[in-house]
Amino acid sequence: MVPWFYLAGKMVIGSSKKVVADQIEEVRRICALVVDDDPLVRRIHGMLLARYGLETEAAENGKEAVDLFLSGKTFDLVLMDMEMPVMDGLQATQRLRGMGVSSMIVGVTARGLEAEKEAFMATGLDACWVKPLNAEAIISVLDELAKKLL
């Protein structure tokens, strides 16, 4: 798969990092945070994002995600599970938006109930998908992320 790069204000799809890097001074990989208490989902979603060239980190619950941002880390994209122990996705999203985090936050939920998705969206999500995400969903998310970053 061709990796995506964020480069001097543009989303760049480069067949070769060297070719792209030769043309510009600074190359940054898109960074994503996968927040889910299910290790299986963290592995699968992390792999899906890595397949499209993103650097990924993982957090087991909303509090870990918030703590990562508080430590100074930044992420372009957050995949936020709705139901988690310690701090769920709704609380974590509200907290992150309250901190001024402008990353793209995409909610993922195992429940497809519209009322629950709407409540989750109302906390400040950019989108909400039913999990597990597939390649089509990831591409859709990355298309939106590209628009946001450009």
């Binding site: 299910d38 290790p39 299986l40 989902v41 592995r43 699968i44 792999m47 899906l48 397949r51 139901e83 195992a110 429940r111 999990k131 597990p132 597939n134 390649a135």
Partner: protein, 141 residues
Amino acid sequence: MEGHQLQHQAACMRKALFDQGYLDDQFLQLEDLEDEANPNFVEEVVKLYYSDSARFIRNIELTLDKNPFDFEKLDDIMHQFKGSSSSIGAKKLKTECTQFQEYCKIGNFEGCMRTFQEVKQEHAVLKKKLESYFQLARQAR
């Protein structure tokens, strides 16, 4: 057995898992993520699923042993288990989990007990089938 015979046998076994309704498209999604850097990704994910899902089954057993019945808690645990099972494309298992949740919603204890046995059986059957398939697939490479 020659290499191409093993490959054919593995392909047939794989096809049967889909034809007999054990697996759905999510399994294909996992296969698509395998590459040279991660040649055993699917097997790795399935192993992770089975090591993790044991605790869901244990928690349901413990909750079913308690009196009075906590249908809400049972539904919650089964919901998580169903989500995990969906992640590996376990189609039949997902259906049994849904049936269990239906019985939880109407507070049917016997239905829950009966369906939970089906869940455990499907969980074990799929494990055996996938283990056999992965072993054959490895031999066929």
